[in-house]
Symmetry: C2
Subunit: 320 residues, 2 copies
Amino acid sequence: MKILVLNPAITQEHKDRIAASAAKHNAELAFAASEAEIPEGFEEPDIVYGFGVDIARKSKKLKWLCVPSAGVDFICKPGSFANEDCILTNSSGAYGVSIAEHIIAVSLMMMRCLTVYYSQTLSGKWGAERFHQKSLKDSRITVLGTGDIGTEFAKRAKAFEPAQIIGVCRSGVSRESSFDKVLKVDALDSILPRTDLLVMSLPATSETEDILNRKRIEALPDGAYIVNVGRGSAIDEEALADNLDNGHLGGAALDVFKSEPLPEGCRLWKTDRLLITPHVAGNLTLDHTLDKNVEMFIEDLDNYFEGRDLKYMVDRKKGY
Amino acid sequence: MKILVLNPAITQEHKDRIAASAAKHNAELAFAASEAEIPEGFEEPDIVYGFGVDIARKSKKLKWLCVPSAGVDFICKPGSFANEDCILTNSSGAYGVSIAEHIIAVSLMMMRCLTVYYSQTLSGKWGAERFHQKSLKDSRITVLGTGDIGTEFAKRAKAFEPAQIIGVCRSGVSRESSFDKVLKVDALDSILPRTDLLVMSLPATSETEDILNRKRIEALPDGAYIVNVGRGSAIDEEALADNLDNGHLGGAALDVFKSEPLPEGCRLWKTDRLLITPHVAGNLTLDHTLDKNVEMFIEDLDNYFEGRDLKYMVDRKKGY
């Protein structure tokens, strides 16, 4: 068995831990920064941990691909796998802490007008004008997507004493007690008019495409805030921009977009009260995220060799 | 008895509640936006709720001044009161929620490099470079000043799963259980080398002046962050700028300064990794803060007329 690890961010300590697990199961192991630098003899590995997109598309020998991301939309399109039986796992569960911190940060930046004050001080101006601030305290928060990210966010948001935190997901069930209530997706239309802060952490699937459409954006109360950290496909970006420009929404913070990097000249660059970040809510620069990511792969590596079900298995048809 | 309320931010509902309390005690009441617009007959009131600085300095009749701020340094200088027996109360307790949210926001902005990403996107640039992020999770947090602000911050910070939250105050005692430990100020030097995030919420007194001096800033570990929301007098600003410029500190977020507004041409405007906000962490634009502020005054108004001790009494000699 040959294992190829394609992850430029991992440390020597991570490599040692992966090597120890591989040795335990008598597997061969190689590391490379990317698919462009694969060592000889590892062109058709059995297992890849990393963004092995080309290998998956070309090699019928690949049995298991573990991607370090939570989102798998890029590898769930038809033709992504030469071996139709190839197992796909993801690293959903590694990003919750990092992305939850991002959501809190950008929500407060918008609600407290820090986006405005900070942009003023960046240009050397002491902003004397006092803008009306909002607060997480007493806010009605709706979390669309109650997976790892939504859950870690709810835990943290709870400490800010919001009026309520409602989770919304396909099943309508979550084990996380920080949600005051968890509703099924078909309750979304009834909860939006009572939402001051809408947090979206959905995967890109056919069901989530433009789930936040124009009608739903307009159903939010005046002054509501939207944060999207899932996938850009979930929001009608034109409708969002219209409802920021016309003053309906209090603000929006997007870390993900239909097209990334956000194209030059795109209307969103000039949209008022839109806080843009370049897909950085969850990335592997945070030590905790990287540690967890490697730990999850090793956990499934042991499961794989010991014949147990893999824990982070993705349903390639559903796309998550 | 004449009560003068000088608070341009309060709503009609707030006025009605104050009026109801005044009527109960047969007191006369007037409202004005500032000392420049005082109605006839209220030039020498018995009680002022607001920034009645001139009245306090000139009128021997003033018996009680309630300021809507938490800090009272501006009214504790010699000569501030014509009537040496005038009671002074403040509104410490109204700002904790607002300022705690500010501290979390700016800490995460620095740790997650959102200051950099946001300044890039403000200029229309999709920042492709990935900077090393830090996290509140597993951080060692020290809170200098464990009053209302430090306490509300600790409650919220706890949800982010830091390694520890140590409170530091004069008494070494706090009722807030979110602190893992509370130490006396003389333990500051021993705790600073084990502090990743130092939060300062101290009043301006002779004891707190330059409490964070050059030696103490240098004692922090490399990459540590500082947030100051108390008073600017507590930090040696030159030493802070030196330790940001030389790369020792990871960042600093100052909402308060020795001189406000921060003077044009001041070195701090150009200091790297310094997040400047124009004294907005606690202001009366947040509905919760304003409600609490008015509520606290009414509480003490009842105490005053019913002969009880005032709850928000300031020791004018100590300055808090």
